[in-house]
């Protein structure tokens, strides 16, 4: 009877552990099965918003005969060195896509008709309409609805492109990726000196009295504040502050970085303190006995030896910044951007997911693809943290 009961109890622990394994498995399977297909280099480097441009090419050059790369099902214009293919977009509409541009093709140096800026055709862009003229002034039209062959034919006949409507597809996350990077750099730039400084004071200089312990527990309490409250503070303190300082309009990457910085202070202080505390006191005493001043000891003995702990705190902070969403929704905003400019609104990767999911029609595929990116970064960070901890805790002698 007792045996059965014991087996049952042990089985329960297996069951509950199995549940946790199952949860991780389910999350991974769900994220990967939905997002893996849209994972590509274009996702990371592409714009989020679809861009429609009207381009022209009016210079006249001696036309070369470009070599046909001979791609399957494509139509090649040997006069311009470009190849087209018939395909379908996600909505199932027929489109004509560029699938090859010769590296010497004049199409790499076109002009935007409205802004007169330099533009070039690249692979994967979609052509809707093209109007060309030959030297005698005859017009040749190519429309996507007539297929890739009609466009290639029009290209082959004309000498000047007067109107070319080209669409660069969206759905990329370059802006959010850059924003996340900026946030990490700016936040650490602000938080690291403050956090390490406070840790040095608390471990090296602070007298052991009531005030010190109150300050210590105040810092500890800060870590118990939920991130959304930090977001509120960012919204009412840092956004107006940054508006005055760098002329931003509403939330900006800078205000987000300040918010994240005060949020991460407790982690950085705690981790650095732990690293300093394991440095043997003999190091410090030896340095002082050799005649070094306390400032010299701090910067030349204590800091270098605490480097591992500081690095750990940096890694932990990066993980937190990448995953943070609630604070940034308030302190920066939820407008997805293709460029990351410090005094403007933008979204980090996590907030990008939030924006995609809180809209009218949630985009699960892209959200899951971004989640994969986040998960991979978080996983790599956790592995590096483990390695750093193993390599650098030379004082941990038991």
């Amino acid at each position: 009877m007792r045996k059965i009961k014991e087996i049952l109890l042990n089985a329960i622990t297996y069951l509950f552990s199995g549940f946790e394994v199952l949860v991780l498995g389910a999350i991974l399977v769900y994220i990967f099965s939905n997002g893996f297909s849209s994972l590509s280099l274009e996702l990371l480097t592409g714009n989020y918003y679809e861009k429609v441009e009207t381009l022209e090419y009016t210079r006249q050059e001696t036309i070369k005969d470009y070599l046909n790369p001979g791609l399957d099902d494509s139509y090649f214009s040997s006069k311009w060195g470009i190849s087209f293919i018939d395909t379908e977009n996600k909505a199932g509409e027929k489109i004509v896509m560029i699938n090859y541009v010769d590296e010497y093709s004049p199409l790499l140096s076109m002009t935007n008709s409205s802004t007169k800026e330099y533009a070039s055709l690249v692979e994967k862009q979609v052509i809707t309409k093209v109007i060309l003229e030959d030297l005698d002034g005859n017009m040749y039209l190519g429309f996507a609805k007539n297929g890739a062959d009609s466009i290639a034919e029009a290209f082959d006949k004309g000498d000047i492109i007067t109107n070319l409507v080209v669409t660069t597809s969206g759905g990329g996350i370059r802006g959010s990726l850059l924003t996340t990077l900026y946030l990490i750099l700016l936040t650490l730039l602000i938080a690291l000196p403050l956090g390490v400084g406070a840790a040095i004071y608390l471990t090296q200089y602070a007298p052991k009295n009531k005030i010190t312990s109150i300050m210590q527990s105040m810092i500890d309490m800060t870590s118990g504040i939920p991130s959304i409250i930090f977001g509120l503070v960012g919204a009412i303190v840092f956004i107006p502050f940054m508006n005055n300082l760098i002329g931003s309009d509403g939330g900006s990457i800078a205000s987000g970085a300040l918010t994240l910085a005060i949020m991460l202070l407790p982690i950085i202080i705690r981790t650095t303190e732990e690293a300093i505390n394991v440095i043997p006191t003999t190091y410090r005493n030896a340095s002082l006995a050799l005649g070094a001043s306390s400032t010299q000891t701090t910067f030349k003995v204590i800091l270098p030896n605490a480097l591992g702990g500081i690095l750990t705190s940096v890694l932990l902070s990066i993980g937190r910044i990448i995953g943070e969403s609630a604070a940034l929704i308030y302190a920066v905003g939820t407008a997805i951007k293709d460029t990351a400019i410090i005094n403007q609104k933008s979204t980090s990767l996590a907030v990008h997911i939030w924006s995609l999911m809180s809209g009218e029609s949630p985009n699960f595929e892209l959200s899951c693809a971004i989640s994969i990116v986040i998960l991979v970064i978080v996983l790599v960070l956790s592995i590096i943290t483990k390695l750093v901890a193993k390599k650098l805790n030379k004082f941990e002698v038991e």
Binding site: T13, F16, E20, Y30, Q216, A235, V237, A326, T334
Partner: protein, 317 residues
């Protein structure tokens, strides 16, 4: 060498260095004071903004309004135009959801940590332990995504079994499940640490008295580690109360309440603050800071309460 030494012993230089040290110390102290004051500033700023709906006039369509404070504390409807806000039911919902999440998370975490450190073969234990660490490092937005994609579907299926029309699975139950999944790793990690820290003597003593290994694990080890387990629970409660993005994706922001039916939509303090955030001016924006005050107070009170309880049960007799 001699010159260098005289330079070091030079009284002027020593004085100079002493001043240097004082300046360095002062700078570090200023930084520390600044870091410690962050929490005070947070509370002050959120309070100033948060009490503004109750003491200042807001002009809506040409008529000035302010919000009734007691009505706000007791209300069972979030918003009745133009100026009646109620958060009483939201507080109850938040507590209810957190409590249910704990009911799932605490047993799961405690048994898993016992499995990791005492019952499982070493290799399996370390693998499970690593899985728990991974779960802890997954950002909340991904849990939210998982909640919308999978958990709401499961809830919808169960609601269908009992013939209940749920809002596509967006419900109290989905919120509870997402919260539970999110706080399990936190509690598990702390419990594992405290179970590992149980002294070998206690375990050996129990075994020597004739108790079986399983009896020792469940009766002696868990009892000795309960203080650490409770610390994990406190951390988990904090995380559950403060979690915002993930649960706002599955809670559904019910207009009124409180909601006790598991298949109905709910609304917690954090989801109220996050959802429908469009304007950054006016009453509807400022009232979110009032909800923020409530959140801070609730977290503070729960923390104090739980710490008192921890001190009471923490003593191993």
């Amino acid at each position: 060498m001699g010159k260098y030494l005289t330079n070091q012993i030079n009284p002027n230089n020593i004085k100079h260095r002493a001043i240097n040290d004082k300046i360095t110390k002062a700078i570090f102290m200023a930084i520390t004071v600044l870091c410690a004051l962050v929490i005070v500033l947070i509370v002050i700023f959120v309070f100033i903004k948060g009490i503004s709906p109750f003491i200042n006039d807001y002009i809506i369509d040409g008529i000035s309004y302010r919000v009734n404070f007691w009505g706000f504390l007791r209300g069972d409807f979030w918003f009745q135009p133009p100026n009646i806000y109620g958060a009483g039911f939201i507080i109850i919902n938040t507590m209810y959801v957190t409590l249910l999440a704990l009911l799932i998370a605490v047993p799961t975490s405690v048994f898993t940590s016992l499995f990791i450190s005492k019952i499982a073969p070493k290799k399996v234990g370390s693998i499970v332990s690593y899985i728990v660490e991974l779960l802890a490092s997954i950002p909340s937005i991904i849990y939210g995504l998982f909640g919308v994609g999978i958990i709401t579907k499961i809830v919808k299926f169960f609601a269908g079994l009992v013939n209940y029309q749920s809002a596509g699975g967006i419900s109290t139950l989905a919120t509870v499940l997402v919260l539970a999944i999110m706080i399990i790793p936190t509690i598990t990690m702390l419990s594992t640490t405290s179970i590992n820290a149980v002294k070998k003597d206690i375990i050996n003593g129990s075994l020597a008295l004739g108790a079986s290994v399983t009896q020792t694990n469940f009766k002696v080890v868990l009892t000795s580690a309960k203080s650490g387990i409770f610390a994990g629970v406190i951390l988990g409660v904090g995380r559950a109360l403060g979690e915002a993005t993930a649960i706002s994706m599955v809670a559904g922001n019910a207009g009124g309440g409180p909601t006790f039916n598991l298949f109905d939509t709910t609304r917690t303090l954090t989801t109220t603050m996050l959802l429908g955030l469009k304007e950054t001016l006016g009453l509807d924006y400022d009232i979110r800071f009032s909800v923020g005050i409530l959140l801070i107070i609730i977290i503070l009170l729960t923390n104090i309460l739980l710490n008192v309880v921890k001190r009471k049960i923490g003593k191993v007799k």
